[in-house]
Amino acid sequence: MLTKRIIACLDVRDGQVVKGVQFQQLRHAGDPGELARRYNVEGIDEVVVLDITATLEKRQALARTINAVAREIFLPLTVGGGIRTEDDAVAAIEAGADKVSLNTAALKDPQLVTTLARRYGSQAVIVAIDARRRDPGFAVYVRSGTADAARDAVEWAREAESRGAGEILLTSMDRDGTRAGFDCEMTAAVADAVDIPVIASGGAGTFDHFADVFTAGHADAALAASIFHYAESSVTDLKRFLRARGVPVRL
């Protein structure tokens, strides 16, 4: 039986891991290679490196950071942030990424999703959607959450799938960094609308939140950063908790 994945996210700026609250107020969390090494032994299922300021500052995701993480882990590695062109994606993949995550660029140029899916396969292309609730539906934001894309998350997820995306990484901007729990309603709305896996992100604070997003939220994977960075919670403990709650996990 396919297990539910726990994905660690390293938000990286200038080669250091940082984590913001609702996309701002960054503080240091450590060296990416060192964190990746810890995840490798702790039972994290996958690692995402997001160059969080890349889009704003027009920087490419740093090959150096990708390399440092790829050296340490024998787990799937996704790189996102500032991947705007086919060349950016190729550079990330050649530096050691297995998948690239497209956000602003996918909305601006949906053909890029198709181009990359043809070149590397759909499994290598994640479309990341940052969204917040509105009435009705869920509004998509781009450029690190600063610009309203005038799209609905469910409708855009469907289009991304039809264009060749292999997974959706759905971040709740309302919950990001708050530790108030995932937005299960939004996650379920998107997960029920597409056939590809949906990774829920934003709001993880307790073990119960993970159980909720895998059951009520219909998520295939859950991404968390701050809950693991400061060694407040062990991944193994989280997975034991989930298994006891009937959620299939790799232990």
Binding site: D45, F74, L75, I93, Y120, G121, S122, A124, D195, I196
Partner: protein
């Protein structure tokens, strides 16, 4: 020396990195003739079966000839699918044909939330028979998959995995080995599989 075939289907970095971490000397040959000098040949690959068309001709002959001479061959993901006769994903492209059977698309079950592609960690059922490739793995070991097509369960199957239906997640016959999962992405269990392959090379 392990020969890692680069035919443009995806990223070799992680496979090379894992093999190197296990102490293997890895080479990516520029010409098919170099396969004859290898102690083991690995055909990796992700993506569409159509990409294996690049192996047609000289590469196919060189790999088949190395296998006939006794060189161990490991196909990973798309590389394992290529060991079979062909795939519904690209019917016009023939496989290497060393394994009997045809690659077919996985079936999703919407009501049970069984999705295609099959992405993530799933268990290996290794109870059918013992093998050299999966030696030392715990029963029900979890490994990382990402694929939409899969091989049938035949006598060559040494591990089966179920995603809606059972499929062959690992095969072994003589010196021919294949894994549908990504050992280079499957943490300790995956490294054990690669270590086992290196041990027969």
């Amino acid at each position: 020396m392990i020969t890692l075939i680069d035919y443009g289907a995806g990223n070799l970095t992680s496979v090379r990195k894992a093999l190197s971490a296990l102490g293997a000397v890895v080479d990516t040959p520029q010409s098919p003739a170099e396969c004859a000098r290898a102690s083991g040949v690995i055909v990796p690959g992700v993506g569409n079966f159509a990409a294996t068309a690049a192996l047609e001709g000289e590469w196919r002959e060189a790999i088949a000839s190395a296998v006939n001479a006794g060189t161990p061959l490991l196909g990973i993901c798309l590389g394992m699918q290529w060991l079979f006769e062909g795939s519904d994903e690209a019917p016009e492209v023939r496989g290497l044909g060393l394994m009997r059977g045809r690659i077919t698309r996985l079936r999703g079950i919407a009501a049970d939330r069984v999705k295609v592609p099959h992405v993530g960690w799933n268990a290996l059922d290794t109870s059918a028979r013992p093998s050299r490739l999966l030696n030392g793995l715990s029963p029900g070991a979890q490994v990382y998959f990402t694929h939409s097509y899969a091989a049938p369960v035949t006598d060559d199957c040494i591990a089966a995995t179920t995603h809606a239906d059972p499929f062959a997640s690992a095969v072994e016959r003589g010196n021919i080995f294949g894994v549908q999962f990504h050992p280079e992405k499957s943490s300790d269990a995956g490294l054990q599989v690669l270590r086992n392959f290196l041990a027969v090379c």
